[in-house]
Homo-oligomer: 202 residues x 2
DNA sequence: ACCTGAACACCGTTCAAGT
DNA sequence: ACCTGAACACCGTTCAAGT
């Protein structure tokens, strides 16, 4: 391993992205360098430039992969506010599962796939009976903003100390999410099929 | 300039932080290096290490300065939800005024001053008649998360293209903020003295 | 006390060269 | 087509040395 191959290639875009996300999980975004990603693949750093144009490019596709995983975890039956709620829960679930995922997303660009296919597809499912296309965009922006900001706040040890270090962070998040999505003011979660996230069926 | 001084010092923590924020405004966070900050002060890079322990330290105090400016812009009479609303508006106003302010905050640490004085002071003012201390923390977390995430989303050119490129971003933000703070579902801004931000009176 | 100059390890990126 | 090795500019950080 590590020497030029004459057979099938050693790397692939998916392999690199997966390794990058594993490195992110393990060491956080501060340590996420191309050198470390390459080292985890037993490859020299410039090898990555055959598959990606820049480090920013790697970030973009890491972000796409995370977003796609979130979408895949959603019940395809869901529409409207129920879909928004499930999306908000799944987004938070993913950000808890991958360390610094929110910071990665905040630094990363948006791929063509996400911009022209995934987001429009999601918006189309959200725009149901009583939600216009414009409202769908606004709701989605609010939910993504809330989940992104919340994860970033929680990742800061000083902040999370201020903001209480018990297990009620989830409750507080779901409270805020419910206010954004359903307009309810307090307490009981709305009646939603699959109030938690679902794993992809594949 | 640039040579060791025998008189009063050329630098000071405030001067450095101000120069850093000006550099941030001008060139964005990607170009915010200690070398650039030092160059804008006609000083060598290691000089900054006399005043700050690390680049992270500089970031922390840049963030503190921004937070303090936001707090200073608030009407000291405000309490409870009215204060939360004004804080959410002022936070957004500041993030619009300083490029990449949200990304800076998301990367920066929290200073002792912010953690032990400014935030507790704000929380004490928020916890009014019908808001407990615990609810105040949760509300504040939600508002800071929303404003932070919103600014980050808007800063991404691809995202803001998807999310409509008209001037209604402000309306959408205030809508979401109103749902978080007051629980109202749509439209009219609540009756609040000073629905916009105020400049510091000093 | 306050700042410079030189040095170090690390990084992203490019590119000729190997297979 | 796919990967290495060497090189470049830049970065954060340390530290002895100057005033």
């Amino acid at each position: 391993m590590g020497r030029p191959k004459a057979g099938e290639p050693e790397l692939a875009r998916d392999v690199i992205i997966d390794a990058a996300i594993e490195t992110l999980k393990a060491d956080g975004i501060a340590a996420l360098s191309l050198a470390r990603i390459a080292a985890s693949l037993n490859v020299q750093t410039p090898a990555l430039y055959w598959y990606f144009r820049s480090k920013a490019d790697v970030y973009t596709y890491m972000s796409e992969k995370i977003f796609r995983d979130v979408l895949d975890s959603l019940d395809p039956e869901l529409v409207g506010r129920d879909l928004l709620w499930a999306f908000g829960c799944a987004m938070r679930h993913k950000q808890c599962a991958i360390r610094d995922a929110a910071k990665l997303i905040s630094m990363a660009g948006v791929s063509d796939e996400v911009r022209t296919i995934l987001v429009p597809g999601l918006l189309a499912r959200v725009a149901d009976r009583d939600i216009t296309a414009s409202q769908a965009r606004n709701y989605l922006t609010a939910i993504q903003s809330l989940s992104l900001g919340w994860a970033i706040f929680e990742s800061n040890p000083a902040t999370s100390e201020v903001m209480r270090r018990s297990g009620d962070g989830d409750i507080a998040y779901r409270d805020a999410l419910a206010r954004l999505v359903f307009g309810v003011v307090l307490g009981e979660s709305p009646a939603v099929s699959g109030t938690d996230h679902q794993e992809p069926s594949s």
